[in-house]
């Protein structure tokens, strides 16, 4: 109860009463949906389907209102285009472009994650490294990775490397900064306990600090995954001939609005799916998260 105690006994009774009623309603509402793991799954799926249905319905209405497929194609037209791109696209098709983009993300994001965790741990382990890198990362972080694109092309040519680097630049700072924060936030008593059990510096790092910081690090890895999808188009601006970002840019040039929609939706779907996969990995790697362990 956050409210101050009521002045009169009657008012107090009323307050208790309304709280009882509220509690009652709450418990009845809870019973509407099945509980437990399956209940959660059903609830999530139901909310997802409802939200999607709502968006598609509004989109349909708007498309009918505009009545110009070059401005806003209807969901039906977009679905037709998706089907077309899926079945007979070949090297220009959706599957190929999605594959190319997915591999770029995996390499760029994966590289950024590995570098971010490694540098983050180095930063907390050594004051000099922290003092040197912390301001650099903070200064570099707000610069959009796209700004580096022309430079990267001059330095590394038009191959895959600059694309990986742009995605890596997006991923690296958030993972490095989160790793530093997660390691610094490790309960000091866990470390003291390990030391008094005979663990040396390296053993404490491997067996206590890293597992204890893992939940925080994993959250940043997931966030970074989302961010790297969001800078995919930027990465694929650089002299590309494939990829979802390239597909969108190319379609834009030819006023092929349905393909733009297909590209956008595919990026959204893939980002969503990779995030789900990472969530599952998270639940498997850190089953103790949120269990109030100390």
């Amino acid at each position: 109860m956050t409210d101050l105690p009521s002045a009169t006994p009657d008012a107090a009774l009323e307050q208790v009463d309304s709280e009882l009623v509220r509690g009652h309603r709450l418990s009845r509402k809870r019973r509407l949906l099945p509980t437990g793991r399956w209940g959660d799954f059903i609830a999530t799926t139901a909310s997802l389907i409802t939200a999607l249905a709502l968006v598609v319905a509004l989109w349909w209405i708007a498309a009918i209102a505009f009545n110009d497929p070059n401005v806003l194609p209807s969901p039906e037209e977009v679905a037709d285009r998706a089907d077309e791109l899926l079945t007979n696209g070949g090297d220009l098709g959706l599957v190929h472009n999605a594959q190319v983009s997915l591999i770029r993300i995996l390499i760029g994001w994966g590289g950024g994650v590995i570098a971010g965790v490694a540098v983050g741990i180095a930063m907390v382990s050594n004051r000099w490294i922290l003092g040197l890198l912390d301001p650099l990362i903070e200064l570099g972080r707000p610069i959009p990775p796209l700004a580096f694109a022309p430079l990267l092309v001059i330095w590394f040519g038009i191959g895959e490397l600059p694309k990986y680097m742009i995605l890596g630049f997006t991923t690296f700072p958030i993972v490095a900064i989160s790793t530093v924060a997660a390691v610094k936030g490790v309960d000091r008593n866990w470390i003291l306990a390990a030391q008094s059990l005979g663990a040396g510096r390296l053993y404490v790092l491997r067996r206590v600090t890293i597992p204890a910081a893992l939940p925080g690090i994993l959250v940043s890895i997931r966030l970074a995954n989302g961010l790297s999808w969001s800078s995919l188009v930027a990465a694929e601006i650089i002299a590309s001939t494939s990829g979802l970002g390239w597909m969108i840019l190319q379609a834009g040039r030819f006023l092929d609005t349905p393909t733009i929609f297909v590209g956008i939706i595919t990026i959204g779907l893939l980002a969503f799916i990779t995030d789900r996969v990472l969530r599952v990995a998270e639940a498997w790697l850190v089953p103790w998260r949120g269990k109030g362990a100390s």
Partner: protein, 263 residues
């Protein structure tokens, strides 16, 4: 000091000499927490460090563990100055601080693995897990256990290293009354079998008297040792001791000491 105490002091393991310490509040103001704390603990002795909360007893324990160094004076263990934590001085904290990413067995084996003694410690680890009543829970994660069970694991995890000195920082203070009694009985039982030296910090007079050979009563602000009382009830002891008239008398005299200090 009587003769038996002198004999104990001669082969003493732990010796604290003139410990003074202060904490800074971060704005340049320092608060003295300890002023000239000196005492010794003999081999295989069970000593409780008691006093009102805030008297610096946990700070003393942290210094013996090697977690922090005193500004003045020194802590010596077998004649050597304590500067860092060591497996010979095992610590049981107020909270269990188990590692949730390890199962019970792996929590207990943490020390032996860190020390490279895994093979020769396996049997002892299993025995200790059974001894603290957790047989069958080896593959459970800490968060699947009750608070009392977690404390049992913490005790086994510390004992598996066969520490010569066991440091306990109000280990049962956060437990409910019944679990606390169970843990006290378990500690008495385990200690009678393993017989290491124990320095036990508590603010609970009854607990200190029930468990210890000697109690050191600390006063506060700044903390120092006000009384050194020997508790010579015969062992093995159990919780029925609290009804003994001698126990009741001793308890009330210690309580008077506490009161005098806090007023």
């Amino acid at each position: 000091m009587n003769e038996s105490k002198l004999a104990k002091a001669a082969d003493t393991g732990l010796r604290l000499q003139g410990i003074s310490h202060s904490f800074s509040d971060g704005r340049g103001r320092a608060t003295d927490v300890l002023a000239g704390v000196s005492f010794e603990v003999g081999a295989r002795e069970f000593v409780s460090l008691m006093g009102p909360s805030g008297c610096g007893k946990s700070t003393v324990l942290g210094m013996v563990a090697g977690f922090l160094s005193p500004e003045q004076g020194d802590v010596r263990w077998h004649g050597e100055r304590v500067t860092a934590p060591d497996a010979a001085r095992g610590v049981v904290f107020q909270k269990p601080h188990l590692y949730p990413w390890c199962e019970v067995y792996d929590n207990v084996m943490f020390g032996p693995r860190a020390l490279g003694r895994e093979r020769e410690s396996r049997d002892l680890a299993r025995d200790l897990i059974a001894e603290v009543g957790l047989e069958g829970f080896e593959r459970h994660r800490p968060y699947e256990l009750s608070g009392g069970m977690q404390h049992r694991v913490a005790l086994a995890r510390t004992l598996v290293n066969r520490p010569e000195l066991l440091l306990m920082d109000e280990p049962f203070a956060a437990l409910d009354a019944q679990t606390r009694e169970e843990m006290q009985a378990l500690l008495l039982e385990v200690w009678q079998r393993h017989r290491c030296t124990v320095l036990f910090v508590t603010h609970d007079i009854e607990e200190g008297l029930l468990l210890s050979d000697r109690i050191l009563v600390m006063g506060h602000r700044p903390g120092s040792i006000r009384a050194d009382i020997s508790v010579d009830f015969e062992r093995p002891r159990d919780e029925t001791l609290v009804f003994d008239q001698r126990f009741v008398d001793l308890r009330s005299s210690v309580r008077t000491l506490f009161r005098k200090d806090s007023s």
